[in-house]
Amino acid sequence: MKKNLYGSTLQVVLTIFTFAIVYLPILVIILISIHGSQYNYDSFKLTFRWYQEIINDQQLVDAIIVTLQIALLATTISTILGTAFAIGIHSLKKKNRVRMMVLNNVPVVNPDIVTGIMLFIIFRFFRMTFGFPTMLLAHIFFTLPFVILSVLPKLKQLDPNLFDAALDLGATKFQAIVRVIIPSIKIGMIAGALIAFTMSIDDFIISYFMKQGEFHNVSTLIYSRLAKRQISPTVFAYNSLVVVLTMGLMILFNRSNQTQKKVRG
């Protein structure tokens, strides 16, 4: 195919623009996290003091623990329930399946603030105390549809006779699901779990509506400090650590994938 030279130059320029505008805040965050002074920007002083101070910032440490606990629990529960629901949805006839998926996709398309309000209303209505349980429920709520969305395409690729064959050979339904269906949809489950974890760990708006007193995840803690003008560079240090770690993991993952491909020929 002949290449359109103007078209591809434009594409390269726009790609560079995209990386620049998306990464600029990240560079600013990293720069603030290694600069010695909070208020003086005359000359650059390299320091790792803010990284050491993360451990002393008890409130931040607590919020990190809450964020991780919620993310891990919500991801595990959503992945298990989402897989079960996806299997159920997949076994429906086309018309009902489409209906279920429309309902399933409401939380995906719904703006976070409206989801936050809806959950706030229903939890208030049931007189629930806001805090860990409501935040966990909320995170399960908005991650579940993503797990279902990523498991469903894998179920469609599955030969429907496999499940019946397993039953004919004497497996119970549960055994047939665990031994036949799950191994074939594993990739979809892992992808769904990764999306769920990413969304949970970064959520601000929905968690904000689940807040109660001094119970915070990282996002709501930072936001509340912002209002009180108490932002210290430790927050930036923590955030830089997360970014560097994920980027490292991604590059490692990519490399190991490639060596695997090479070994398999």
Partner: protein, 270 residues
């Protein structure tokens, strides 16, 4: 596999309690004296609908449309060619390049907003490079920050569609005599419409309802629908918050119909 249908009943119950009932509450609060915070005498009233003609609401609505609209147009104009570029790279690192756009999303959204606030403040870390901007409260600043936040969400769904597309169609159209512009306009573009619609929704709706971003970058003076909802609900003014949410939901449902037309099971939403 019919026997597995029973697995969806708990999900139906879950969605009913957490989506359908709150939705009805919001509708009810918009058209009656219904209130979840205190006991109430129930009667229908359209008082809260009057808020829709209040200058405060109209201003927030106008701002939401303006900022989200401009942001979405920029994201589509930039995002489509970028997605196209990624989809056509012939490198074994292709997925890594796309994944590099996910890394910034892992960074906390609030921290990224503070980073932009720093960039636009006169006294900031940028002074180290002898740069200084004074743009807090300006429209441009809000739009730049929004594009930075939401651009990846425009690129991913379009990339997903373009990457899966069968190149045979394009070659066929070229063999049948279409020039590169025609084959893009008649083949590639229509086939990627589903991704475009998802991308627009993933950009437009969050931008319309953002509240931390306009509050920080807008210097507290630019009010969007999200700011209005947040302010009203924590002020205890349930019915106005519900009314504004109702308006947002109507917009959302409109777009939802569009998705259902292009992609019944929402496969482009991931």
């Amino acid at each position: 596999m019919k026997s597995l249908r029973r697995l969806i009943y708990p999900y139906i119950a879950w969605l009913t309690v957490l989506i359908i009932i709150p939705f009805l509450f919001i509708v009810l609060a918009t058209i009656s004296t219904f209130h979840i915070f205190n006991s109430y005498t129930f009667r229908f009233t359209f008082d809260s609908l009057r808020f829709l003609t209040d200058p405060i609401f109209l201003n927030a609505f106008k701002n939401s449309i303006k900022f989200a609209g401009i942001t979405t147009v920029i994201c589509l104009a930039v995002g489509y060619p970028v997605a196209y570029f990624f989809a056509n790279i012939k490198s074994k690192n292709k997925t890594l390049y796309v994944a590099l756009l996910i890394v910034p999303i892992w960074s906390n959204m609030i921290v990224r907003i503070i980073a932009w606030e720093n960039v636009f403040k006169p006294v900031s870390i940028l002074n180290l490079f002898n740069l200084s901007f004074d743009m807090i409260g300006s429209d441009i600043a809000i739009i730049i920050a929004m594009v930075s936040m939401y651009l990846p969400f425009m690129i991913f769904p379009i990339y997903a569609v373009l990457d899966k597309m069968d190149h045979g169609y394009i070659e066929a159209s070229r063999d049948l005599g279409a020039n590169s512009f025609q084959s893009f306009y008649k083949v590639t573009l229509p086939l990627s419409l589903g991704g475009i619609v998802s991308g627009i929704i993933m950009t437009l709706l969050p931008a319309m309802t953002a509240f931390a971003l306009p509050e920080r970058i807008g210097g507290g003076t630019t009010i969007l629908l999200g700011n209005l909802i947040e302010k009203e609900i924590f002020r205890g003014s349930f019915s106005t918050a519900a009314t504004v949410s109702f308006v947002v939901m109507i917009v959302m449902l409109g777009f939802f119909m569009l998705i259902v037309r292009f992609d019944k099971e929402g496969e482009t939403l991931l």
